[in-house]
Amino acid sequence: MTARINASIVGLGTAGITRAATPPAKELARLAVLGALADAGLDRTDLDGLLICRTSAATDSILGPDLQKLLSLRDLSLLELVLCEGASAIAAIHTAAMAVTTGMATTVACVFADAPVVPGKRTSASFGRIKTGSGIEGLRYSAGLFGGAANYALAAQRYLAETGATEDALASVAVAMRQWATLNPQAIFRDPLTREDYFAARYIAEPLRLYDCAIPVNGAVAVIVTSRERAADLAQPPVPILSMAQGHRGSPDRRGLDLGLESGAGIAAPRLFEGTGVGPADIDVCLFYDAFSFSTLLSLEQYGFCGRGEAGDFVADGGIAPGGRLPVNTGGGHLSGYYLQGMTPVAEAVIQARGQGGARQVDGARTLLVTNEGGRFDYHAALLLGSAEHRE
């Protein structure tokens, strides 16, 4: 759907992307927006919209609407926080595209920033924050299910049990991500990773081992969205938004929602492809939200690249690795690239669509699928992006 969307991504900026100490998230966000403007060949006076995404742990004082003031942006016609956990970045781009299409704004920056890493402090201390929660949902912490790994482990365990897939499938994803990352100078983890290394690493939450889990970084990514007409005159090859869709399943506490076997992606996929003339067979590159390796397996199935329970076979023997049948997460994804939530797949999609991927560039990357996953597969948002050659 969304055939009448008139919007392209025209600028990409990053800041930080390191495990070392950095300025706070708000400053990283400011630097990323300025970087994206410079990349697009725009000035800050060209911006009339600013959409801000942050982690669910952050507050207005960490990153809030006052980012406008730090950027010295005047008379904005659009300023919002867009909060949908891991799906926030693409959700923000959806809002930007709608605003640009309707004329509510002409040129909108979408930014995500996070700075959870304190050098010397354990990763689980950054992400497995001690919470008590409230209500019945909070009993997850009473049960000892802390951190994202526990959530995704519960989904992965069901998937393996129901489909007969093995931990080899998870290993294939982790190893493929590292292969891509070795080709990406911006990736955090670029040392080769073998299957033996994968299986020798400790479990975090079974069946997930160390290399199934993203590692936090400090950093920010911003993109600039404007109309296709304006996009044509700017500094970079424009990346048109061909379609966009979200899918949010709702209450997970009753039977009937098949944890690990379906997600919001299954709802979003038909909405995304509808009316575009594009299907899974036409996708040249996939950029999935892969905070945990398992997410990639489920994404492949939910978007129809393979049937239910077949993702393990799909990723075996380098199916999604460099030279494989379907390039997935060509920057190394969250697992080996960097974990800046929903902006990680967006940034890599822009790089690939422009043909700026260097050693990891996929030839003929004309139609790209980009996804965001939030919560425990609670929230899902997706983009279908084209390349400059796509302009009608």
């Binding site: 009473s142 049960a143 000892g144 526990a150 519960l154 129901e162 209450s251 690990g260």
Partner: protein, 139 residues
């Protein structure tokens, strides 16, 4: 032995009777007065929208819906338990509930494995169910 209790949530507006029940040693579920769907912590029926839900005792029996074995301790209460099993129980009545699993001799943790709830009280902190695996004949 003084050990810090595990985190126990505060009731929210839709779960006060549930936590009161736990304090009294009872596991309760909400039953819809119209369609009979059992659920947990909803303001109105998650299946049909009916406003009248009644808290009723659950059997305490269920099966493992999914599980993990946690290998890291994020909280002092779990430091001596690592690695421990925890996951989601499908209660006999239908709703899904998070819990830690205690593995009884002669049983294992697996999807579909029967479990029974034991409500454990932590002095000054509250109470919540911990689930013990049981054999089919005990279920």
């Amino acid at each position: 032995m003084s050990v810090e209790p595990p985190p126990i949530p505060e009731p929210d507006i839709n779960s006060v009777p549930f936590f009161e029940g736990l304090a009294e040693g009872r596991l309760l579920v909400q039953i819809c007065g119209r369609c009979g769907t059992a659920q947990l912590g909803h303001p109105d029926c998650d299946a049909c929208g009916h406003a009248a839900l009644e808290w009723q005792p659950a059997s305490g029996r269920g099966t493992i819906y999914s599980f993990t074995r946690m290998h890291l301790s994020y909280h002092p209460a779990f430091a001596d338990l690592v690695p421990y099993f925890a996951g989601i129980v499908a209660l006999e009545e239908g709703p899904l509930l998070y819990g830690r699993f205690v593995v009884a001799e002669g049983t294992k943790v697996a999807i579909g494995q029967p479990v029974v709830a034991e409500i454990v009280h932590f002095e000054g902190a509250g109470a919540f169910p911990i689930f013990t695996t049981v054999t089919e004949s005990q279920a």
